[in-house]
């Protein structure tokens, strides 16, 4: 029971200090899980991140599910996931309860406009940094461009961008296999 509470509170803390996209949280997760709690070694953490990034979902949440399961099976996962999502849930509910009053305040509206512009910029920078890492050849550039175009200009559900990418990946694998680049 004590371990369940520890999982809950550790990930509650991680969830509280996660903002935006959440990649900035990796050092904090590692510090809490590897250094402070010694729940995993650095090598195990690498495995955890490899799996978390290969599956759909938010990185902070996926690592919570993984580490919870590693320590206390299903109940551990539940406790860690509950902890990491609770701050997001509670803070949004509180804000929504006061949103009407926020909307009447001219300074708050100005702050919103500033944050909206900055958010667009921060996501653009995140996209640029990601692009630098993954756009290694023509195939990657083509897939990224097509998924961007069909979402923005054809207005289709972005889910299809992911489905398209998955099939293109399989197609490219077959093609390279046929050509003999890979076995």
């Amino acid at each position: 029971m004590k371990l369940l509470f520890e999982l809950f509170f550790t990930f509650l803390k991680i969830g509280t200090f996660t903002f935006g996209g959440g990649y900035a949280m990796l050092p904090l997760i590692r510090k809490a899980v590897v250094e402070e709690k010694a729940w995993m070694t650095d090598d195990e953490m690498v495995d955890c991140l490899a799996l978390s990034q290969s599956l759909p979902g938010v990185l902070a949440v996926n690592t919570a599910i993984y580490i919870g399961n590693k320590k206390r099976r299903f109940m551990g996962s539940l406790a860690a996931t509950f902890g990491v999502t609770l701050p997001a849930f509670v803070s949004i509910i509180i804000i929504l309860l006061f949103l009407d009053r926020i909307e009447e305040n001219i300074y708050m509206l100005g702050a919103f406009e500033g944050i909206k512009a900055a958010s667009a910029a921060l996501i653009a920078v995140a996209a640029y940094n990601l692009g630098k890492r993954i756009l290694k050849g023509k195939f990657e550039i083509l897939i990224a461009a097509i998924s961007f175009i069909i979402i923005v200009f054809a207005g289709i559900n972005a889910v299809w961008g992911i489905v398209f990418g998955g099939f293109a990946g399989i197609g490219s694998y077959w093609y390279r296999q046929k050509k003999g680049d890979i076995r």
């Binding site: 959440g22 996926n62 299903f74 949004i92 889910v159 990946g169």
Partner: protein, 190 residues
């Protein structure tokens, strides 16, 4: 019951296809809130702004927000559970069957295509957000060429460029920049 069922279906789908993390999920959420008329593009960009300054991953913030707007507290609860549930199931299944995680050839092939696709999704999130902040309407419109000065919101546009420089070149952290933009916006943007 219909709103609850819709919310569950929408956010389970978003969670299931949510490769590439929270930013890549934004265009999916945007598509559904527009389709179901849950909120306008302007409110969606405010949702993103709020999610940046509230604790928690952006995808969870957004699920709670949309769920509450659509069906109150129960809706918020259902949307939040639904967006996390696919990852919960998939992580547990993967850990059960794979002792040490190494990408299989099939998964490797799928991710080879999905990774660049998530970049397209994140870039499209920038466009959707820009259309209601630094720009004055959809990007596919003639007004950009006809009268660019009315189409671009000057002060937010300056904030956008400033943040790009501070984050991209000077590597200042996103939380600091968000708070700075909020404070400067409160003072200067009317």
């Amino acid at each position: 019951m219909m709103p609850f069922f819709n919310l569950f279906a929408i956010f389970f789908q978003i969670g299931f296809f949510g490769f590439g993390g929270g930013y890549a999920m934004l265009p999916m959420i945007f598509h559904h809130v527009q389709q179901f008329g849950i909120m306008t593009a302007a409110e969606f960009s405010r949702l993103v702004a709020l999610s940046q300054v509230t604790p928690g991953p952006i995808a969870v913030n957004a699920a709670t927000y949309v769920g509450y707007r659509y069906a109150g507290f129960g809706g918020a609860l259902i949307a939040t559970v639904a967006v996390v549930l696919p990852a919960f199931i998939l992580v547990l299944i993967s850990m059960h069957f794979i002792k040490k995680f190494e990408e299989s050839k099939a998964l490797d092939a799928v991710l080879y295509g999905i990774r660049p696709a998530t970049l397209g999704l994140i870039a499209s999130a920038v466009i959707f957000l820009s259309e209601t902040s630094i720009l004055n309407g959809p990007i596919i419109s003639v007004s950009l060429f006809e009268n660019a000065s009315d189409y671009i919101n000057r002060l937010p546009f300056a904030f956008f460029i400033g943040t790009i420089i501070l984050a991209g070149k000077l590597k200042i952290g996103p939380i600091k920049l968000t708070l700075l933009a909020g404070a400067a916006g409160a003072l200067f943007i009317r």
